[in-house]
Amino acid sequence: MVTPPVVSLVLTGRNDGYGGDFIARFFRSLRFNHQQLTARGIAYELVFVEWAPPSDARLIRDQIFDALPELDVAVCSWYVVDPRYQEVLSLNPRLEYLEFPAKNVGVRRARGRFVLTSNCDVYFGRRIFDALAAGTLEPRVLYRAPRHDLTLPAERAPLDWSVLEDPRNLAGPAHVLKPPYMGSATGDFVLLDRESFHEIGGFNEVYRVARIGIDRNVLVKALSSGLRIADIGGPVYHENHEGSYRLNPAAYAGRETEAPWGDRRWHSGGVSYVNPPTWGLSEAPVREIDERVWYLDFSWAAMPPLVDLTRIVLPVARPGGPAPGHYVRKR
C-alpha cells in the first residue's frame, strides 16, 4: 500500500490570462512552494484542476514541466474538466469560473492526509512549511492563514524570503484573522485533514450563484459540523494583480448582481449546506489522457440537480461555540 503524502495541495486554474499574466504568476509561486516543500522533505501531492479550459489555448499541463523541470510528474495529479460542467452548473451567467466546484474536484480526489486548498498566486509563509514539516497538525481543525498582499518589483527575479517578508512590499495593512470564523481571503488558505474535508463535503456546491463568499461559507459549515478553526500562526503572501477583487471590492457597488464574482451580499455567513453525494463531480466519467492526467468527460449523471433547496440549511449552534451566523440585511 502506498503511503499517502502529508499534504495534497489543491489548486485550480486555466490558461485564460486571468489577472494579466496568470501562467507566469502561477509558475512563480509554484516554483517557490515546491522548493520550500522539497527542501524540508515534506511529502506532498499537487492536485491541479484545469477547469473548463479554453479550446483555443494550450493546457497548462502541457507547459508546466517545461517551465518547472524540477517538478516530478509522479507528485502531480492533473484533472482537466470538460467546459460543459461550467456551462451547466452555473446559476449565474456572469460567473466565468466556478472556483469552488473546481476545487472540490481536487479535494474529492486528493490522497494526502491533509488537504490544502489555495490559489495559483499564493506563496506560503514559513510557519506553514514549519507546521507541515513538524507534523503537528491536528485532525478536525481547519487551519487558516492571514493574507499579506504584496506589490512585487517589476523585475522578475526568483522570489525568496527577503522579498516576501520585506514590509516595504506590503500593498496595505496585513490582514488579521478574527475569531470565530478567522475569515478574510479564505480561498487562499484552507487546510484540513482529508477525512474532515470529506465529512463536510467540500465547499458549497448548492449555491452556484456566486463565487465570492463560498470560501467564508465553508467556515460556517466547519463550525456547524463541530470542527475547530485555528490560525496556523503565519501568513500567506499574495501577489497583487489586475482584476483582483481585493484591489477594488467596491467596483460593483450599487450593481452587485453584475459582478463577475456574484453578489457579495449573499448570506454566506448565515447559512450552511449539505452537498449532494456526487460533490466534486465524483460520478463524472474519467479517462487518462496522459501520464497522471485525467479528463473528466461531461455526463448528466454527474450533475447535481439544478435546484435542490433542501440542501441549504441553518447552521447548527453548538453549546459553548460561537454563534453560527448572523443576519445581514441584503437589500
Binding site: L91, V209, A210, H267, G270, L309, I312
Partner: protein
C-alpha cells in the same frame, strides 16, 4: 435656753426674725421653682403637640411610601416580565432572521435557475419557429 425660748414662742405661733427670713426665702424659692416647672410643663405640652403632629405626618408618609413601594414592586415585576419577554422575542427574532437568510439564499438559487433556464430556452428554441406559428 435658746431652744426653750423658741419652743415657748412656737406655742403662740411665733418664730424668730431670722427664722422668718429663712422661711420667706424658701417660700420665694419654691414659688420661683413652681413658675419654672409650669413653664417647662407648658413647653413639654407644646413639644408633645408638635411631636404628635410630626408623628401624624410621618405616619401619613409611611402610608404613602408603602403605596409607592407596592407600586415599585409592581413596576419591578413588570420590568422583569418585560425583560423575559424581550429575551424571548430576541430569540424568536434571531430564529426568524436565520430562516429569512435561508429563504433569501434559496430565492437567489431559484432566481439564478430561472434565469439560466430562460437563457437556455431562448438559445434552444429557434426564433423563426415562434414567428411561423404566430403567422399561422
Amino acid at each position: 435656753m435658746r431652744r426653750f425660748i423658741a419652743a415657748f414662742l412656737a406655742v403662740f405661733g411665733l418664730v424668730s426674725s431670722r427664722r422668718y427670713e429663712a422661711l420667706s426665702r424658701s417660700l420665694e424659692d419654691l414659688k420661683a421653682a413652681g413658675a419654672e416647672s409650669k413653664k417647662k410643663a407648658s413647653q413639654a405640652i407644646a413639644q408633645q403637640r408638635s411631636l404628635e403632629s410630626e408623628l401624624r405626618r410621618q405616619s401619613q408618609l409611611v402610608v404613602k411610601l408603602r403605596g409607592s413601594v407596592e407600586k415599585w414592586k409592581h413596576y419591578h415585576d413588570n420590568v422583569k416580565m418585560l425583560r423575559d419577554r424581550l429575551a424571548d422575542t430576541e430569540r424568536e427574532l434571531m430564529v426568524a432572521r436565520d430562516h429569512l437568510m435561508a429563504i433569501e439564499v434559496k430565492l437567489d438559487i431559484l432566481e439564478g435557475a430561472a434565469n439560466v433556464l430562460d437563457r437556455r430556452t431562448r438559445i434552444t428554441a429557434p426564433q423563426d419557429q415562434h414567428e411561423s406559428s404566430a403567422r399561422a
